[in-house]
Amino acid sequence: MSNFEDADTEETVTCLQMTVYHPGQLQRGVFQSIRFYNREKFSSIEVLKFGRNSNICHYTFQDKQVSRVQFALQPFKQVNSSVLSFEIKNMSKKTSLIVDNQELGYLNKIDLPYRCMVRFGEYQFLLEKEDGESVDSFETQLILSSRPLLQENNWPPQNPIPEDGGYSSYLTESISPTEMDENEL
């Protein structure tokens, strides 16, 4: 009890949550090396690398179409800010990295907003930052999505398309709950 009462006050930690999806994730096992839902803590001076090479990358994809180092994430501080920000850099010579609607070529980098979609090839990542007090370290948590993260990929191809080109709301699937009259099903 005395250790608890005397200990230094803990600081909350910034968490970068990454929800990932790949259309072949079940058949091809591209994410089999990743421990989903596990919170990992990193020093704020680290550079996190994502790619195919397990000797270099913190997170590895079992996919020969992925570059040895695909992209890198690292925290930094905006001048006079008290919280951590993150930047992402494309490390692939072959594949562009798309951050929301910005296309990054090789060695291009961009600051990440609190919430954004990152894509390369068929890979989709929804990145969301939750601020914490600590600037010395941060955490990551990868979550596997069973459904595509992009709206346009939510259209199931086997469903009939109306002649007028319009879509009824019940044909859409989104990752957030939507209001729906059960009689429409």
Binding site: P75, F76, L104, N108
Partner: protein, 203 residues
């Protein structure tokens, strides 16, 4: 194909490396602070770590330096073809002055073509000579016997040796010729150098 023509074809295919001309100065330790610094260092496009630690790429022998004090990381600005460099502070304890601006832990700033950087008593001038290669870059080190960064009105300070720690280098005065001879002391010049760097890269 003859050996000479084959060699010239190979040379023309190799891309020139970006060179960082780095001048270093310490007011009291002199070149002893830079005993572990080679004359030239070639590095890939990962970040270059500067500090006291064994794993630092540029190791400086100063006890007040952090093991990882700062990093220089290459990247490409969108639409540009020459490497740019970003300096990031990795030291929790010290401030790093970059072209007159103080940066603290985890703060970062892009480098201009010519830069004056000071931290923990060290003065570092960095001049970037762009090369086409995106695989690696080279640091070429020079050890200056005289200060690289001056305050224009030194007679106003009481303690000459502390001005670089406590106050920012506000302007450049007379400098070692060659590397920084084109700079003149004004804050507007700092902005002009940054703009010039962008213009040169876009040509």
């Amino acid at each position: 194909m003859s050996d000479v023509s084959r060699q010239s074809r190979i040379s023309s295919m190799e891309r020139s490396l970006t060179v960082l001309q780095v001048s270093l100065y310490h007011p009291t330790l002199g070149s002893a602070a830079f005993a572990n610094v080679p004359r030239q260092l070639q590095h890939d496009i990962s970040r270059l770590l500067v500090g006291r630690g064994q794993d630092a790429h540029l190791r400086l022998q100063l006890p007040q330096l952090s093991r990882h004090h700062l990093s220089l990381e290459p990247y490409l600005e969108k639409g540009h073809t020459l490497l740019a460099f970003c300096l990031k502070v990795l030291s929790r304890k010290s401030c790093v002055w970059v072209n007159g601006l103080p940066l603290r832990y985890l703060e970062q700033a892009p480098l201009s073509t010519t830069n004056r950087i000071s931290f923990s008593g060290i003065q570092m001038a960095v001049h970037i000579e762009g090369g086409a290669s995106l695989e690696a870059f080279v640091c070429s080190f020079h050890f200056s016997p005289s200060p690289l960064i001056y305050r224009p009105k030194a007679e106003e300070t009481d303690e000459w040796e502390n001005i670089f720690e406590e106050e920012p280098p506000q302007a450049l005065g007379e400098l070692t010729p060659g590397l920084l001879g084109s700079l003149h002391g004004s804050s507007q010049t700092q902005t002009a150098v940054s703009s010039q760097a962008l213009e040169e890269d876009q040509k």
